[in-house]
Symmetry: C2
Subunit: 104 residues, 2 copies
Amino acid sequence: MTQLNNVGIIKKANIYFNGKVTSRTVLFPDGTKKTLGIMLPGEYEFSTDLKEEMEIISGKLEYKLSGHDWVTIDGSGIFYVPANESFQLKVHTVADYCCSYLNE
Amino acid sequence: MTQLNNVGIIKKANIYFNGKVTSRTVLFPDGTKKTLGIMLPGEYEFSTDLKEEMEIISGKLEYKLSGHDWVTIDGSGIFYVPANESFQLKVHTVADYCCSYLNE
């Protein structure tokens, strides 16, 4: 089972949309961070500061980047969101994700 | 902000009750583990293998240990569940928790 090692984790959860989207922040020795989160079915819009790598570990959803069409992920998949953009999600089944914040 | 340091975290979430209860497993260098989780409003029953320390970081809920009355936690609080028992929860608002598994 994939495990992130030698990390710090902030105990308190990040809670959005009345708990329908929640995550925990994981801090790496090199100063980078990831969030491990859960999204329940629903429609959401998020915006980025840094570029983000969104890895869907499990779940079925559609995502839409600014200026692009809707794309479906069913099971697992990965997509990237540029810095300082917003993106939309239609989550169809409980989605488990890992978001990496990229300093590029 | 309280942070758990020098730990491992299993990337994949633990998902129960259709995603209404989810957690992440955190592994400590001494071999012990905790789970950091979220419970959405609802009624749940869980059972323990090891003794558990349930720390409610935020949220409002009632819990009932076997043979005891219902007890309310509003905001934060802590309770212990003996090994090999079941306990009931009525979660009234999104609850953020940290469960420690105790080898006693």
